[in-house]
């Protein structure tokens, strides 16, 4: 119940295309769902996050879609660029858990071809 399952493991998209990464969770106590972006040789960094009281959040070319009933959420990258090539992790957090511990998905390696 503590798992977050992420797919696909890797994704190749042409420049200008839409990249879609999906995550699913079981624990209905999760109430914060961030996405982290990691470039090679660097640590992950927060990209965008959503709470389950909204179904969508958009920041520039990045959009999170959230389906509470299906316990799924996804990251959409519009007009994908070579600079978006990175590993993306979804995560989930249960509010007020000691330590603010995040549960991470397995990661998706995105490659955007020019």
């Amino acid at each position: 119940q503590q798992q977050v399952k992420q797919s696909p493991q890797s994704l190749i998209v042409q420049k200008g295309g839409i990249s879609i990464i999906n995550c699913a969770y079981e624990n209905t106590a999760f109430d914060y769902f961030p996405w982290y972006q990691q470039f090679p040789g660097k640590g992950p960094a927060l990209l965008i996050a959503i709470r389950p009281d909204v179904s969508e959040k958009k920041e520039g070319r990045f959009t999170i879609s959230f389906n509470k009933s299906a316990k799924q959420f996804s990251l959409h990258i519009m007009d994908s660029q070579p600079g978006d090539s990175a590993t993306y992790f979804c995560a989930a957090l249960k509010a007020y858990n000691q330590g603010g511990k995040l549960i991470f998905g397995q990661g998706t390696e995105l490659s955007v071809k020019p």
């Binding site: 640590g43 007020y96 000691q98 330590g99 603010g100 511990k101 995040l102």
Partner: protein, 114 residues
């Protein structure tokens, strides 16, 4: 602010050796974390700390120890290194408990145990 810094960047250990991975943050964050990242496995929490003098186990604590004597420092100790501890290790920090504040990651330490 330097953010979260980690040393060393790379290290090769022989089986049975010990070492300490250093982590320092200058953001006055209460919460600190140690993760390991293995290909296709996402980020697994090793240990975390909610403040100086307080530490607790995460998902994969076996073979590791931590201490938190100051707010700034959170070293990770590997005793009797094993090949299964070959991984990339990330330290992270976060401002406070029960909030949705992001975790800030260091650049990582790549450890190989031969």
């Amino acid at each position: 602010n330097a953010g979260v810094t980690q040393t060393p960047k790379f290290r090769i250990l022989k089986i049975g050796q010990s070492m300490t991975l250093q982590c320092t943050q200058d953001m006055n964050h209460n919460y600190m974390y140690w993760y390991r990242q293995d290909p296709g496995m996402g980020l697994k929490l090793i240990y975390y700390s909610v403040g100086a003098g307080i530490t607790d186990k995460g998902e994969v604590p076996n073979g590791y120890n931590v201490s938190r004597s100051t707010t700034e420092d959170f070293p990770l100790r590997l005793e009797l290194a094993a090949p299964s501890q070959t991984s990339v290790y990330f330290c992270a920090s976060s401002p406070r408990q029960g909030s949705y504040n992001e975790q800030f990651f260091g650049p990582g330490t790549r450890l190989t145990v031969l």
